[in-house]
Assembly symmetry: C2
Homo-oligomer: 362 residues x 2
């Protein structure tokens, strides 16, 4: 929701962005003529106090706002809004900044009805090919998802430009997780794995259950998004993932898991020092090639620019026909609410700057 | 001209790109309905044989092609073409891939007449503010110049996205010259300056007169383009430039210059080893800040990602409000005909994908 703040800043700059509707998992607020700035601010303030959109205070939901009540029905209500005649706007965009796994149908419907779609949510792009297909087919022109990989870093825009201009991607690799980058940094300085994970957690770098990061699945999703963006037919299950902890630790509670981290310290210490003996450093690397997607530990040479990564920075490296010997490399922080919002905002502005003609109801 | 080859490849992909006219410094070929693929290939073949466009063989200039004769009049003829009614195309683009210093008026006229403009030529953007203003004012929507800095690397696109989405640029720095990057690499490995320059020249990394690269002015132009892209009012003369050779060597002939390179070896050897004693490496760095643009040698720490640059790779590093502590970094080869063509092509496709509506005659 923090993205609204950025949008606020941007109203001034040329395009007029209006919110027709805002929704969370529990409720929806809709104003056919667009929410006023005051209303948006009121809703944000209520959200900041922990209220969901079905429980907004009365002064926020003024008379002209239709407010959806029920829980499960939010997507249905949103779907209904998609079909309305909305004479005041040229370009209609549906922006999914949730982490929900079930928005794909709504998004496909929006595309079908001529809306543009912007995603910070990875899930709609990593579902089974059959369900993700309508979205993937619309990428570039009507669907944007910059924030799904590397937050505000122009990871998807750069890839799209390479592809559009006729380059051929041979291989993409990199470090797609700030959390795991931070861990590498700690381990390299000789800190035990257990205290490194705890430090990452206390800094807010991990999910409440740190295993969500340490499973490698978040990196795998990003790798799959890049693979599919290159036109590869692949499922999430096809990505080879090396988790940062052994399978038997999956059955623990989150708290038990945190308490048993010490059991992994020895193995990581050995791994790091073995790499160092070979003049290398350890990185958690994603690799996207022709028909193979891998995510896991890799030893990289000290001279490799990947070894120069500091702390939570992400890196995406494009090896293409034009950038064969020396790849094109993007580096920078790939997380954080303001930067994620920036990625979403860039997509919105870019889609909106395309003329209304292309976006007319179909 | 090599860009035409890329364009050729791209005709297939969605947009239909047609060449109305091709011009070099001596001649111009114009076909109101667009040149056929065969005609374009014939012209390219003639160019490859060293012919200029006022001396094309008869079989190339078929009956329907108007061919400009004179030398100085090419721009006038091009200017005349700009005003014609050209019913067959929706989006009209003028692409300047020359190294000419005098195209700015023609380009401004094209913009004024509703054409889009794409530049690989830096000169129109680094002239005095007064003359560059019409171009700078059109940047983003009607003027693109990706290839002027870093060839195909998305240097300008990334900057534009940051600015458009409301970020504030505090500082841009980096290594903008592949030639000088290659020199740094050689010097670092202990090679004398003289042999390093000769090696760069023999590899085709330098201009025929190597001083054009070693003056730092090419880097200064790129720095100025970035500064102006950030909205700074600055002239090329305001850029503080440290050349790689002393002023007294300017009066030599190019050959004399190459012969006296040894006189600089000692100073460079000392400089490199002094940096090494401090745990640093030497890089030729451009720095763009609020109201200051500097280009010259800088010692950087070994841990700095700039120290990890290899050979002729370029680097552009954006320090912004959102990327304050950890900057956003682009790395990759920033030269070469195919990659430069890619930058031009990306601009063409991006401008062309904007609807014809915006581009109608004004």
């Amino acid at each position: 929701v923090i993205l609204e703040q950025s949008l606020e800043i941007e109203r001034s700059s040329g395009l007029k962005l209006a919110y027709l509707a805002l929704a969370d998992s529990r409720g929806l607020v809709f104003a056919p003529g667009g929410l006023t700035d005051g209303e948006v601010m009121g809703i944000l303030a209520a959200k900041a106090q922990g209220r969901s959109l079905d429980r907004l205070p009365a002064h926020v939901t003024a008379a002209q706002l239709a407010q959806g009540k029920a829980g499960g029905g939010v997507q249905d209500e949103m779907g209904e809004i998609l079909t309305r005649q909305l004479p005041t706007c040229d370009v209609r965009l549906l922006v999914d900044v949730t982490a929900a796994e079930s928005t794909d149908e709504l998004l496909a419907r929006a595309l079908h009805l001529g809306w543009g779609v912007v995603l910070a949510n990875k899930h709609p792009l990593v579902g089974c090919t059959e369900r993700a297909r309508p979205l993937l087919d619309a990428r570039g022109r009507r669907l944007r998802y910059e924030a799904t990989v590397g937050a505000g870093l122009p990871v998807i825009a750069t890839l799209q430009t390479l592809l559009d201009s006729g380059d051929e991607v041979q291989h993409i690799d990199g470090c797609f997780s700030g959390t795991l980058g931070f861990l590498c940094h700690c381990l390299e300085r000789g800190q035990p794995f257990s205290t490194s994970v705890r430090e990452a957690k206390s800094l807010g770098y991990t999910e409440p259950d740190a295993r969500q990061d340490l499973s490698g699945m978040d990196v795998a999703r990003k790798a799959l998004i890049l693979a599919r963006s290159c036109g590869q037919d692949m499922e999430l299950g096809d990505v080879e993932v090396e988790p940062l902890f052994p399978a038997e630790m999956r059955s623990l509670t989150a708290a038990q898991f945190m308490d048993s981290l010490e059991s992994l310290d020895g193995a990581y210490r050995d791994r790091i020092s073995a790499a160092r003996d070979r003049g290398r450093v350890l990185r958690y690397v994603a690799s996207v090639e022709d028909d193979r997607c891998r995510v896991g530990w890799r030893e990289v040479e000290r001279e490799d620019i990947m070894a120069a990564l500091q702390g939570p920075d992400n890196m995406v490296r494009y090896h293409t026909r034009r950038y064969a010997g020396n790849p094109l490399v993007l580096i920078g922080p790939g997380a954080g609410p303001e930067r994620t919002a920036a990625g979403v905002l860039a997509d919105i502005l870019d889609l909106a700057s395309h003329s209304a003609m292309e976006f007319g109801q179909e």
